[in-house]
Symmetry: C2
Subunit: 164 residues, 2 copies
DNA sequence: CTTTAAATGTTATATACTAACGATTGAATA
DNA sequence: TATTCAATCGTTAGTATATAACATTTAAAG
């Protein structure tokens, strides 16, 4: 189990990880039901593995886990599940790590933004309307239409900075 | 030659590409001389190829170009040159494309930020103190120390939007 | 049921990157 | 200028990430 640090967005103290995973899956089921998407066994399991890990998770780690359980997965099995989950907005890809993390909807309506601690490998999905506004202004100035934002801030979280 | 669109940061009208490449290499030479870095033939040629392309350029495309010229390059040849150029701040890696682009210093002192047109594949490196400020504020709120920012905004540039 | 589109299995391959070690080069200095 | 030593480069091999293509299975809809 992850040791609990003490700051806000990275805070894991009082984090009931079992409930966290359960909630994420419930949200996924609700969303898929609403949108007429099929959360199949593989897709559900991949999502669950990502939430269990609660860190950016690599495709081949997922592949190994799936294979340990069912013994018959090839890369496309996992990549197709990941593509589905990405399209459904249930996970995000962290481009700078080639890894995937559950969407906790902390970005609200805005674009997702991540603080990534290199020491503990944990990721916080943060809202920041101010960043969105500033980027929207820059885009407008350039006559640029935004589709997607990749905002990944690498560094050190408070807990890791404190422990040296 | 790239057809010239008409907006600001993506503007290529009146762009003398030969001079642009030449300037970039001159800047690189100056910087390396100042810092006691060795801009060797391979490193220089890789940088030049990236600027000639003037788009995010893949490592293996560079490898193929080098091989067409000299016939004896393996992946490490290119990756080592890219590592050098990255460390020297002469190029940036676009994480969302696994590709590399010349640093045009448009970010000034701040972290580099990119507008990436999916239609024409061109990239504009934009300054935005407002974005930097907003992110710094969010990081501070979280007690997070920033090392590196990956900010890549995908979308459509004005010229591509106009031509449909 | 039957049909059919979606999902999955399977094989193969493309793309991205790195480790390790020997050979060469070139800058510093004896 | 000869020597030395660290930086650079060549080379082989391997690991990591991702996709193409097509066969088979599943399950939703008629």
């Amino acid at each position: 189990m992850i040791q609990a640090p003490e700051n806000s967005v990275f805070d894991a103290s009082g984090h009931d990880h079992g409930a966290c995973i359960h909630d994420a899956l419930t949200r996924a089921e609700t969303l898929c039901a609403q949108q007429g998407l099929r959360l199949t066994a593989i897709r559900r399991r991949v999502l669950e593995l990502i939430w269990e890990n609660h860190r950016p998770t690599k495709a081949y780690d997922l592949l190994n886990s799936i294979n340990a359980e069912r013994g018959n997965a090839a890369p496309p099995t996992v990549y197709r599940a990941l593509d589905f989950l990405l399209d459904a907005g249930l996970i995000h890809k962290i481009e700078s790590l080639n890894a995937f993390i559950g969407c906790d909807a902390a970005h609200g309506d805005g674009h997702p933004k991540f603080l990534i601690c290199r020491a503990c490998e944990r990721v916080a999905e943060i809202p920041s309307p101010a960043v969105d506004t500033a980027l929207a202004r820059e885009a407008k100035r350039a006559g640029f239409t935004i589709d997607h934002e990749t905002i990944e801030i690498g560094g050190t979280c408070a807990a890791c900075a404190q422990r040296g």
